[in-house]
């Protein structure tokens, strides 16, 4: 792999890549910067980039106006709950598919994936009705279940691809050593698959965090997560750029920070376990 590359060439690569990276990142950077401006500076002409009067006022206003912490907690509960619930159901299923494959395994896997293609709007009203009947409308529990179900195929698929990398002989060794099936999964498979499971967990947490169809349509005041919090800024308050930016920053910050700290697992997870 290592090929001698002149420093000039490397500098050129660096310059191009950094420019493109910054262009792609710019909307996020701009949002974060704007959140610290006053409303007047936020729409000033020409725009100011760094040299403005930094203020935290917008954050205070946003928190006061919409009780950010409650939305945040709902998001954490729903995204975390659905991911963990999904894992509990998916680990045994993925074990079965990876280590005891049958002729139908691949069909089942593709079928599961295809349930994700069902257009959500097509079943929105029935789900809505069922939720009313079961008292799940605008509850965190209800949303947790729905998000678990829509992400379950992806969780299973990812775990399946990670499990398949683990040599079957090691699990057979555990069986020879007297481990029962649950022990085989808890003591041998799971610890060996930790990186894969972590990636799966992270990616699905993000997908659930950002999910914006069911969270918008099945919640009102009580269980609304950050997607709904931010949607409430769509108009006409959206014209107050600084406050919109502050709210946006607050909605994406937890995930951005999490992403920063777990880059390796995340990058692995982002490929959905599909490419090595």
């Amino acid at each position: 792999m290592a090929r001698a590359v002149t420093n000039n060439r490397k500098a050129l690569n660096t310059a191009i890549a950094w420019s493109i990276g910054l262009v792609i990142f710019f909307p996020i950077l701009w949002t974060i910067l704007t959140s610290f401006k006053t409303e007047a500076q936020a729409i000033s002409n020409p725009p100011v980039f760094l040299f403005f009067d930094w203020t935290l006022e917008n954050y205070a206003v946003v928190q006061e106006r919409s009780n950010y912490m409650r939305f945040l907690w709902n998001s954490v509960f729903i995204a975390g709950g659905s991911t963990i619930l999904g894992l509990i159901i998916a680990v045994p299923a993925a074990w079965s598919m990876a280590f005891v494959p049958s002729r139908r395994t691949k069909d089942i896997l593709l079928w599961m994936l295809s349930t994700k293609m069902l257009p959500a709007v097509g079943v929105l009203y029935p789900i809505y009705l069922l939720f009313i009947k079961m008292g799940l409308l605008d509850t965190r529990l209800g949303l947790t279940i729905v998000l678990m179900l829509i992400n379950l195929p992806i969780i299973i698929w990812m775990l399946y691809t990670y499990f398949k990398e683990i040599p079957g002989e090691i699990l057979e060794a555990a069986r020879m050593d007297g481990a029962s099936l649950p022990k085989e999964i808890i003591y041998v498979l799971t610890p060996m698959a930790v990186p894969g499971i972590a990636s799966t967990l992270l990616l699905n947490f993000i997908l659930a965090w950002n999910e914006a169809f069911w969270t918008l349509n099945l919640t009102a005041a009580k269980a609304a997560p950050l997607t709904a919090f931010i949607a409430s800024y769509s108009s006409p308050e959206g014209l107050f750029y600084a406050k919109l930016s502050a709210a946006s920053t607050m909605a994406i910050a937890p995930i951005l920070i999490m992403g920063w700290f777990s880059q390796k697992q995340l990058v692995r997870g982002l490929t959905f376990g599909a490419v090595k």
């Binding site: 040599p167 002989e169 057979e172 060794a173 069986r175 022990k183 003591y187 060996m192």
Partner: protein
């Protein structure tokens, strides 16, 4: 305790019959080697005994009681895998401890056993390392350690030395033999390498296409193979097969003669040939001789023999060492 009996055991994967019904008796304390070319069903047979695969039909008895439907855990057997199958996330100590932990053994007793096993296997200094930090031979010993602490009624080895380099393989071969003498426990050992089979086994089971070709001690197989396949498989270098006039003369369809049972002469003998490559090992010299009819004969001669490339040479088989085969390849 460690006798294993296979009764009419067969295995099919779908429509493919990997192992036709076979019977086999393994006595307590025996070192049994399953040997055969790859794809002969030897590993499958071992996995059937281990309980990692279901029998299609037949029964397996361990120590006189039926174990056909028992889970691997219940059979009281330990297995050493080709890839060692160590748990990469556990230290050596925890690896060896795992079967004891699964059996719910008291930690103090478990530690005593682990330390004893580590001492036998020279692993004492490595108990806190992870498998990834060990050499191939050390990993192999950990796998063996994991097997012996359980004090199983029999050990199963699935080509355990095939991932080691040649020198280490010889060492480990001796260690395993040593272990067998010390523990006196039944061992079933699968290999495709007939040298391992010959050097280690009390009893060799030669498998070919799922069938047992012959069962016997190494010397029995060497001296009186029942058919051409066993004759050709056991012994190194391989037995030479000759058909035609020389076979007719001895009332056979073909005859076999081992390289070490040929007499070399410069001026007279049954067969005349031209010396091709000769390999001088010091102790022996291997000659590849091309006979006048174009067939190749391998000769194992003494180390002092000097033969030049292209030199004319005469070979004669030692009459009492000639194996005769009929048209079906069976020994006459």
């Amino acid at each position: 305790m460690g006798s294993i009996t296979l009764k009419k055991v067969s295995k099919s994967f779908g429509d493919v019959e990997v192992i036709p019904p076979l019977d086999l008796e393994i006595n307590d304390g025996e070192f049994v080697v399953f040997v055969g070319p790859s794809g002969c069903g030897k590993s499958t047979l071992l996995r059937l005994i281990a309980g990692l695969e279901d029998l299609t039909s037949g029964a397996i008895e361990i120590d006189g009681s039926d174990a056909t439907d028992a889970t691997p855990a219940k059979r009281g057997l330990a297995m050493v895998f080709q890839s060692y199958a160590l748990y990469p996330h556990m230290s050596v100590r925890k690896n060896i401890n795992f079967p004891l932990k699964m059996a719910g053994m008291d930690p103090a007793e478990a530690n005593k056993r682990i330390d004893a096993a580590a001492k036998v296997l020279n692993l004492t200094d490595y108990l806190d390392r992870r498998p990834g930090q060990l050499s191939g031979g050390q990993r192999q010993r950990v796998a063996i350690g994991r097997a012996i602490v359980r004090e199983p009624s029999a050990f199963l080895f699935d080509e355990p030395l095939s991932n080691l380099d040649a020198a280490l393989r010889v060492n480990m071969r001796l260690e395993i033999c040593d272990l067998h003498k010390t523990l006196a426990t039944t061992m079933i050992y699968v290999t495709h390498d007939q040298v391992e089979a010959m050097t280690m086994a009390d009893k060799i089971v030669v498998l070919h296409d799922g069938y047992i070709e012959q069962v016997g001690s190494p010397l029995e197989l060497y001296e009186s193979p029942v058919n051409k396949f066993v004759a050709g498989f056991i012994g190194s270098p391989k037995m030479n097969f000759v058909s035609g006039a020389s076979a007719k003369k001895r009332d056979a369809d073909s005859i076999g003669i081992r390289p070490e049972h040929l007499t070399v002469s410069a001026d007279a003998g049954e067969w005349e040939g031209i010396v091709g490559v000769s390999e001088h090992l010091g102790s022996d010299t291997f000659l590849h001789v091309k006979l006048s009819d174009g067939s190749m004969i391998n000769v194992r001669a003494s180390g002092e023999l000097k033969a030049a490339y292209g030199q004319k040479i005469f070979l004669s088989p030692q009459e009492d060492k000639v194996h005769r085969f009929d048209a079906q390849g069976l020994t006459i």
